[in-house]
């Protein structure tokens, strides 16, 4: 598409582009150099600040925290998908006493900020007698309610994007509503929506980071703890760099999966604006 926006550049334009390109690169390099220089000048790369991260005990802790992050993500991802499917079924039900409450449920949980949802679980419920709510449960439940609601809408957008003839033909050969949904619509919708679904899972992974605010002991919690250790030079920037590297690699890995699926199924998420909008709204 973008090649339609401009002519193939002629010799003068090429020179101009080269200049602009060079300026862009210089600007970006300058920004990075400035940040790096600040890091160096404030002693962020001194051995003292990194000493903590050479200790095997600390490595073990970081591994533990990474696993904690992945556990919350994994469980929340599976539960969100299940909840999303259940809500989808409720949403397309022809009984209004099922579809209307489901609609309200979905809209409600999409509108409440996820952090507030986690706080309701962690701070709100225990005094009422739900004393089993640990930070882990709060994080996973919050993620599930929120992302399950978003995913159910993504599924629905997927079904609505299918040609009407699909359902009509299925009904014509005598399939029941359940059969049409299960055997005709859902498989196609899930395939069409696969990249969007995986992007939403990236959102789930990113949002596990909120857990540290409700004291779930994941990567950022550890970053904060290590960052406030004066005996090791308060290495908050080194520890943020370490945790960021882990978080971003995990997210990029998952985003890579989304891209792979997108290329394989050759259906970009941009094709379904509604679904993309849903993911944007949840990010």
């Amino acid at each position: 598409m973008s090649n339609v926006l401009f002519d193939a550049p002629g010799p003068r334009a090429r020179v101009r582009h080269r200049y602009i390109g060079a300026i862009t690169l210089v600007a970006v390099v300058a920004i990075f150099a400035f940040i790096l220089l600040r890091f160096v000048e404030t002693g962020q790369f001194t051995a003292e600040k990194w000493e903590l991260f050479t200790i095997p005990f600390v490595h073990a802790k970081i591994l533990e925290a990474t696993i904690a992050t992945l556990q919350a993500f994994g469980l929340a991802a599976v539960l969100s998908l299940i909840l999303g499917l259940l809500l989808l079924v409720g949403r397309v039900s022809k009984h209004r006493w099922i579809s209307v409450p489901t609609y309200l449920f979905v809209e409600l949980f999409r509108a409440i900020p996820l952090l507030i949802l986690m706080m309701i679980m962690y701070y709100g419920l225990p005094p009422l007698g739900f004393s089993f709510v640990t930070p882990f449960i709060a994080v996973v439940t919050g993620l599930t309610l929120y992302n399950g609601s978003v995913l159910s809408e993504v599924f629905r957008a997927g079904i609505e994007s299918l040609p009407k003839g699909q359902a009509e033909a299925a009904y014509a050969i005598g399939m029941s509503k359940t059969q049409v949904m299960r055997m005709i619509l859902l498989p196609q919708a899930l395939r069409a929506m696969a990249p969007v679904i995986v992007s939403q899972l990236v959102v789930v992974l990113k949002d596990t980071a909120l857990g540290f605010i409700v004291t779930y002991q994941e990567l950022l919690y550890l970053a904060k703890f290590y960052g406030a250790q004066p005996n090791y030079g308060s290495p908050i920037i080194p520890s943020t760099i370490v945790m960021a590297a882990i978080y971003i690699s995990l997210c990029l890995l998952l985003a890579g999966v989304a891209k792979y699926i997108e290329v394989r199924t050759k259906r970009g998420p941009a094709k379904n604006i509604r679904a993309q909008q849903l993911v944007n709204e949840a990010a």
Binding site: Y123, V133, T134, T215, Y226, P230
Partner: protein, 288 residues
Amino acid sequence: MRKKLSLLATAATAALLLAGCAGGDTTDPGSSDAPAEVTLTGSPTYDAMVEADTVRIGVKEDQPGLGFLDAGTGERSGFDIEIAKWVAESLGFSDDKIEYIAIPSANRESAIVNGDIDYYVGTYSITDKRKEQIDFAGPYFITGQGILVAADDDSITSENDLAGKTVCSATGSTPIQNIKDNYPDTETEEFDTYSQCVEALKDGQVDAVTTDQAILLGYASQDSENLKVVGEPFSVENYGVGLPKGDDALRGFINDMFTDGNDTWQSIYDETLGQSGTAVEQPAVDAY
């Protein structure tokens, strides 16, 4: 048999450590009461501990001298930690049966109400508001609100100089409440742990950190180049052991332990907070 041996070993190590540091004139906390003699009935918290064969203690892990976790070695130290161990030992749990859980100030009540922990020892001021949700044994220590500033800052010498300054403390703590209520001209910043506030002070984001002086002394002694404590305590804070509400049996047990502890308390104090040179006596228990 193995359990007994390891208990003995722990007690012996503890005794050695304490003796080594203090010149051999101290009693070892807890080892005088043999764990087998624990008689505590009617305490659901204790029953749950016995059932699980572990005791889960809520602590702070960012307060040098009181409750501190060394990030490099994973070892905990400080006055509150020793008090927590003392309670555990008199309940019949050796060090290796203790599971420490770090809980920031704002989450203490919910952690106790939730049952995430069996009891909490971590600069926990006894207040009536908190007593609505939980119970306290003790007090086992008395301090007051103090002020920590940058070592080169001469503009703040007491709490009367706080007008127009930015002061940081922990979310949900008594000191921040005091500042908000009684010092309306003072700006506040809140983080969930004091160490975050101390970092903000060192970075110049805030002018002072306020909380109990005992806590501040710990930070100042850890980084005396950059930090100093100014003024006299301007409130009274009684530290207690946070317990689930209504567990009077356990509360009574711990109160008796404090009262009948002889010089155990003093030896713990001398080993930890006393290192800074200030002498303090054990406060009388308030068995409400």
